[in-house]
């Protein structure tokens, strides 16, 4: 498995990542234990693990918002040493700018990079259309539902044209209906504009529906890599397909103790 992914062009390479938080001066919390993974260009990889398995920390390390205690992250062969616009992060809590409209939120990345107004308006309009929010450009975040807010979050990350998209339990706060729908939308958006995606979730269905490859983490700290599943079901997938359910069963069985 590792052999194969090395031969292809690896977009994200995580080598031996260990993370220990120091709390209250002396208390050590061991969050991640020797995690190594490669993600190929345009691959959709889901990191699946229950709460408190260190998966969000792993994503934040790849984002550059946390530094690993040991190990390193490379993107396109370049070592990550801080947050940067080559990675787009979508937050569980949306983290929209309440004082900006949908348009203002989406064009923030290009604006920070100094893209001229006309051009960044075009970029923003393109991604607002991509996530299906036409007509809502001038709405403020508090006027939007949860699903729409996260669409803005996704469009904002996409609009900065990152090499890699990192999504941290993006649909964790949505109701089941909206969640299914947003998964469908995520697959559609990814197929329209292919990116390398690393997606963190605690939901097995979500993982199988979206992933090319699922990496499971053990259910307790420190987070360790468990089994890796290749999902080669044809897209678009159906939650009720036999093959889908079989895989779901397999993953549930394998992680019965932890998920």
């Amino acid at each position: 498995m590792r052999e194969e992914s090395h031969s292809c062009q690896a977009k994200i390479v995580c080598e031996d990542i260990t993370k220990v938080f120091i709390q209250k001066g002396t208390q050590r919390v061991h969050v991640l234990d020797h995690i190594s993974l490669d993600v190929k260009e345009n691959e959709f990889v889901v990191i699946l693990g229950p709460g408190q398995s260190g998966k969000s920390t792993l994503l934040r390390i790849i984002a550059g918002l946390e530094t690993p205690t040991e190990g390193s992250v490379r993107i396109d062969g370049r070592e990550v040493d801080g947050p940067g616009p080559d990675r787009g992060l979508v937050f569980q809590g949306y983290m929209l700018f309440a004082w900006k409209t949908v348009l203002g939120n989406v064009e923030m990345g290009p604006k920070l990079r100094g893209v001229p107004k006309k051009e960044r308006r075009e970029i923003a309009a393109h991604y607002i259309h991509l996530v299906g929010l036409d007509g809502f450009e001038n709405h403020y975040p508090h006027q939007l539902s949860g699903g729409m807010k996260q669409r803005v979050g996704i469009a904002r990350a996409y609009a900065n044209n990152p090499q890699v998209m990192l999504l941290d339990e993006p649909f964790g706060q949505l109701d089941a209906q909206t969640r299914y729908f947003m998964e469908k939308e995520t697959a559609r958006i990814w197929e329209t504009e292919k990116r390398t995606i690393l997606f963190v979730t605690n939901n097995i269905d979500e993982a199988i529906y979206l992933a090319d490859r699922i990496i499971t983490l053990e259910g307790k700290l420190p987070g360790r890599m468990n089994v890796v599943y290749n999902v080669d079901l044809p897209r678009p997938r159906e939650h009720t397909d036999m093959a889908f359910l079989k895989l779901r069963h397999k993953i549930t069985e394998a992680s019965a103790l932890t998920l």
Binding site: L112, G132, D134, H142, R151
Partner: protein, 279 residues
């Protein structure tokens, strides 16, 4: 588009026929009723001489105010006195907020500024502004300066505290967003920190404004030849309750208008808050 239509929450307001229960539940009707009952109780209490001659009836107060509009007291008409107090507040409030708000922001953003200012501020903060009146008169005399000084002292604290807390309470992940999008420290401050702190800053300005009225009144009660506090103290010295209550009513009206002005400014500066509050 059609797909997300079910996510849009639309509030449709239907027109209902005018029945008694609709009238009774109407907000504006209840506003009017509440004020009407207040004036009725006031008038009945005054007419019954519950405070002997200490409480004038509403129409007596209105008459007194009408007379003061045209007959000058100590060389100033009523509007002159309103302006005297308002002017003191505007000067003191403007100076205090122009210094305190930026200082509060800087304290929250820079730990060295914080380390230098905070101990001093914490030391002086609990002291009631009115405790400064006597020393202010000794320093600056009984003129305008001492009154403006008291207002500055009183309004400085809420302006600074709310600006400071406004920045401290910004969701830290919002800074992460800016950093992930490639922004620098100055972008974090301009794009996140300031706009996120605006509502708190305005809350501080509102509190400061009401404190400013307390301060100017207290200062005028101690020594002044003009202002609404002067009218009140004059009414007491002349045993004219209508003048005292009239002064109180005018203060309430002017203070309310000024706070409405600050709210209007907030709606202008923070348009995203308009609909959150407006329901």
């Amino acid at each position: 588009m059609a797909d997300i239509a079910n996510e849009v929450q639309q509030q449709v307001r239907e027109r209902r026929p005018l029945t008694l229960s609709v009238v009774l539940k109407n907000r504006w009707f209840l506003y009017g009723l509440s004020i009407l009952v207040f004036f009725l109780v006031w008038d009945m209490t005054a007419a019954a001489k519950a405070f002997r001659s200490g409480l004038p009836r509403p129409h007596e107060v209105a008459l007194q105010l009408w007379r003061m509009l045209f007959d000058p007291l100590a060389g100033k008409s009523l509007l002159g006195h309103v302006w005297a107090s308002t002017q003191r507040i505007l000067i003191g409030f403007t100076i205090a907020s122009l210094v305190a708000v930026p200082l509060g922001l800087m304290m929250a953003l820079n730990r060295y500024v914080n380390a230098i200012v905070k101990p001093l501020f914490d030391l002086l903060k609990p002291m009631p502004p009115l405790a400064w009146i006597s020393i202010a008169i000794l320093w600056f005399g009984i003129g305008e300066t001492s009154k403006v000084f008291i207002i500055i002292i009183g309004t400085f604290v809420p302006c600074l505290l709310d600006a400071y807390n406004g920045v401290r309470l910004v969701e830290p992940e919002l800074y992460d967003v800016i950093r992930m999008l490639g922004g620098k420290r100055r972008h974090e401050i301009i794009q996140v920190c300031f706009p996120a702190a605006f509502p708190a800053i305005f809350a501080g300005l509102q509190i400061a404004l009401s404190i400013a009225w307390s301060c100017v009144l207290a200062a005028e009660l101690v020594s002044a030849r003009s202002g609404l506090g002067f009218i009140i103290i004059l009414g007491m010295n002349l045993s004219r309750p209508a003048m005292i209550v009239g002064g109180m009513v005018v203060i309430a009206l002017v203070a309310w208008s000024m706070s409405q002005l600050v709210s209007a400014l907030e709606r202008f500066v923070c348009p995203w808050k308009r609909e959150i509050d407006g329901r």
